[in-house]
C-alpha cells in the first residue's frame, strides 16, 4: 500500500531550488543550482522556481532572476531569521504542499543536508544526497536521474525516485556551473505567507560564533596550492603559502594534515572536505588517496610533486614531478615571481 500511491505525479510540475541565504547573502551553490535547474527544466519543458526563505530578504529576489529563476516564491517570516531545522522544514513543506513541484534541489551544505532529509521524511518522498550529476531520463518518464559517489568515492550510483514527488536531491557545492548572469532579468515573485507555530521553534539559538577565517574559500579559488602529509610539518605550509601568494592562489590541504591538527578543516579537499575545480591544482606531498582525488580531479590542470613515483596522485596529474616538494617549492616560487615581474 502506498499512501501517496501513484500519486498523480503529473500534477507535480517545475524544477524548484531552495535558495540558501545566510547573513543576507545567497550561497554560491544556490546560484549554481539555478544554472543546473535551467538546463533540467529545458529538458522537462517546465520552469525554474527559486524558493527563498528568510526574514526581510525580499531584496535578494532580483539576483535570482539573473541567475536563471523564472519564478520566485518568497517566504518572509521572523521565525526564519536564523537557520533552524524545524521552522525551515515547516515552511518548505508548506511550499511543497501548495505548489507541488516535480523537483526540489538543495545545496549539499550544512543547512541543505539538515533541512532536506527532514522535509523528505515529512512529505514522504525520496531524497538523494550529495549529488554530483543530475540529468533527465530520456525514456519518456522525464524522471530526474541523480548521480552521486558512494563508498568513499569509490563508486558512483545513479538513483531515481519514480513513484513519489517531488524528486529531491542535495547537490554538492562547486560541481554545477552558474550561468553567466542575465542582464535585466526579472521574475515574478509570489509572496507566500506561512504561519509557523511557536511549537516548531523548539531549539533555541543562544549564540552565533563565526569561525575566524580571512582566507578565501578554497571552492572559489582559481589556483590551489595543496599540501599533504609529505610536507612534513605545519611550519612547512609556509612554503605553500609563499607560492600561493605568488600565484594569487590559496592554500588547501589533504585530510591527513587536518587530522594531524596542522591546518583547519575548512581548507580540506576531498570526500569529507570540499570539492574544488580550480584552474590549477598543485598537489605537494599528497599521495592521492581515492577520497582526496574525488574532491579535486575535476580541476582543469593538475600538477603534483611527490617523492614516491608510485603515488596515485600521478595517475590524475597532467604533470607529475618525482621529487622533494620542500626543495622544489622555494625554487618554483622564485621562478614564478621572476616570470611575473618580467611580464610587467
Amino acid at each position: 500500500m502506498k499512501v501517496v500511491s501513484k500519486m498523480d505525479i503529473q500534477d507535480y510540475k517545475g524544477v524548484y531550488v531552495f535558495i540558501q541565504q545566510v547573513d543576507h547573502k545567497v550561497a554560491g551553490v544556490s546560484h549554481e543550482l539555478l544554472g543546473k535547474a535551467r538546463e533540467l527544466a529545458g529538458k522537462m519543458e517546465t520552469e525554474v522556481t527559486a524558493v527563498l526563505l528568510g526574514n526581510n530578504v525580499s531584496d535578494l529576489c532580483k539576483d535570482l532572476a539573473s541567475y536563471g529563476a523564472d519564478k520566485i516564491i518568497l517566504v518572509d517570516n521572523p521565525a526564519l531569521d536564523l537557520y533552524s531545522t524545524k521552522p525551515y522544514a515547516y515552511a518548505m513543506c508548506k511550499v511543497i504542499e501548495k505548489y507541488k513541484p516535480a523537483v526540489v534541489l538543495y545545496g549539499a551544505t550544512a543547512i541543505g543536508r539538515d533541512l532536506a532529509p527532514r522535509v523528505a521524511a515529512r512529505i514522504r518522498t525520496g531524497l538523494t544526497a550529495d549529488c554530483t550529476k543530475l540529468d533527465v531520463a530520456e525514456d519518456g518518464t522525464k524522471n530526474l536521474q541523480m548521480t552521486r559517489p558512494a563508498f568513499g568515492g569509490n563508486i558512483m550510483a545513479t538513483i531515481i525516485c519514480p513513484d513519489y514527488r517531488p524528486q529531491m536531491a542535495t547537490v554538492r557545492p562547486g560541481v554545477m556551473q552558474k550561468i553567466k548572469p542575465l542582464e535585466n532579468a526579472s521574475a515574478p515573485t509570489d509572496k507566500f505567507s506561512v504561519q509557523i507555530p511557536e511549537s516548531e521553534n523548539d531549539v533555541q539559538i543562544l549564540n552565533v560564533v563565526k569561525k575566524e577565517s580571512h582566507k578565501m574559500d578554497i571552492q572559489d579559488a582559481k589556483v590551489l596550492v595543496s599540501g599533504g602529509r609529505g610536507m612534513g610539518s605545519p611550519e612547512n605550509f609556509k612554503l605553500l603559502q609563499n607560492l600561493a601568494d605568488a600565484l594569487s592562489g590559496t592554500v588547501s590541504s589533504s585530510r591527513a594534515c587536518v587530522d594531524a591538527g596542522w591546518v583547519e578543516k575548512d581548507i580540506q579537499v576531498g570526500q569529507t572536505g570540499k570539492t574544488v575545480r580550480p584552474n590549477l591544482y598543485l598537489a605537494c606531498g599528497i599521495s592521492g588517496a581515492i577520497q582526496h582525488l574525488a574532491g579535486m580531479e575535476e580541476s582543469d590542470v593538475i600538477m603534483a610533486i611527490n617523492k614516491d613515483e608510485t603515488a596515485p596522485i600521478f595517475e590524475v596529474a597532467d604533470y607529475g614531478v618525482v621529487g622533494d616538494a620542500l626543495k622544489i617549492l622555494p625554487l618554483l616560487t622564485e621562478n614564478v615571481k621572476k616570470a611575473i615581474a618580467d611580464r610587467k
Partner: protein
C-alpha cells in the same frame, strides 16, 4: 537519563581498493568497523554516562553480522544492545531506514538519541534527521560539543563558517561528527563481558508497528538504477630524475604553457 546511540556497521572504505584491471571494487578482506561518526556519538554518550550518569543503549539496523559492531559498543561501555534485523527491512533507502529505526525506538525509553552525521559507505547524512522527524522530536545536526543540564541539552552545532550554540529540551536527537572526540578503546575485560555476559536484543518485523509498504525496498521512494566506477582520466606526463632547480624550471614552463601565469 536514557541515551540511545544508533550505530551502523560499515566496510572500512579507506581499505577498499579498485581492481586496476576491471575497475570493480575489491571488497574481499575489507574489515567491518563501527561507522566513525557513530563511534564518536557513542563516545559522547559514554562521556555523558561518566559525568552525568546515564543508561546507554546501542541500536543497529542491519544484517545479523552487525552483531559484532554492537558487541564492540558493549565492550566500550554501552549497557544494552538492540539489533533490528529482518529480511523484510532489506534494501531500505534512507526514508525506509529512518522509518524502521524510529519504530524500533518507539518501543524503548529515550531522552537523547545520538546518531553519527553520516556513514562512510553511503555518505547520505539523512537518516539522523529523518529519525527525528518520524519521532516528532527536534534534531540538532553536526554536534561538536555537547552539554546536558537537567532536561536540556546545549550543543555547539557546526556550519561551514560558523557555529550555533543551541539549546533544546530533551527528548531530542543529535548527529555527531567524528571531530567531536577521540573514541575510547574497548577494554579486554569489556570484550569478554560483551560476549559472555551480555545479551543482544533482537527486534524483527513482527515486533514493530509498521506497514509493509513503508519498510525495506518496497517502502523506499528511491531506486538505484545503475552503479559504476569512474573512468580514469587520460594519463599525464611524469618526470623524474630532475634536480630541484630543473624541476622548478619544468613546472614554470608548464604553468606558462597553460596560461596560468
Amino acid at each position: 537519563m536514557n541515551i540511545v546511540v544508533c550505530i551502523k556497521q560499515v566496510p572500512n572504505t579507506n581499505e577498499v581498493k579498485l581492481d586496476p584491471k576491471t575497475g570493480t571494487l575489491i571488497r574481499e578482506g575489507v574489515p567491518s568497523i563501527i561507522n566513525p561518526d557513530d563511534k564518536a556519538g557513542l563516545e559522547a554518550a559514554l562521556r555523558l554516562k561518566d559525568t552525568n550518569g546515564a543508561h546507554v543503549t546501542v541500536l543497529s539496523m542491519g544484517p545479523p553480522q552487525a552483531e559484532t559492531a554492537l558487541r564492540e559498543a558493549l565492550a566500550m561501555g554501552a549497557d544494552d544492545a538492540i539489533l533490528v534485523t529482518d529480511r523484510a527491512f532489506g534494501g531500505a533507502d534512507t526514508w525506509a531506514t529512518a522509518h524502521t529505526i524510529a519504530a524500533a525506538l518507539k518501543t524503548i525509553p529515550y531522552d537523547l538519541i545520538i546518531t553519527g552525521r553520516q556513514a562512510i559507505d553511503g555518505d547520505t547524512a539523512q537518516v539522523g534527521p529523518q529519525i527525528a522527524e518520524n519521532l516528532h522530536i527536534p534534531n540538532i545536526s553536526y554536534a561538536e560539543e555537547i552539554k546536558v543540564e537537567g532536561d536540556y541539552i546545549t550543543v555547539k552545532r557546526q556550519f561551514e563558517d560558523r557555529y550555533h550554540i543551541v539549546k533544546a529540551k530533551m527528548p531530542c536527537l543529535i548527529t555527531a561528527l567524528s571531530e567531536l572526540n577521540e573514541p575510547r578503546y574497548m577494554t579486554p575485560g569489556g570484550i569478554f563481558d560483551a560476549y559472555r555476559e551480555k545479551k543482544i536484543k533482537i527486534v524483527t518485523r513482527k515486533d514493530l508497528d509498521v506497514k509493509d509498504g513503508d519498510i525495506g525496498l518496497k517502502g523506499s521512494p528511491t531506486r538505484v538504477i545503475k552503479t559504476f566506477t569512474k573512468s580514469p582520466k587520460a594519463a599525464g606526463t611524469l618526470v623524474s630524475n630532475l634536480d630541484p632547480q630543473e624541476a622548478a624550471d619544468y613546472m614554470l614552463e608548464k604553468l606558462q604553457e597553460k596560461f596560468i601565469i
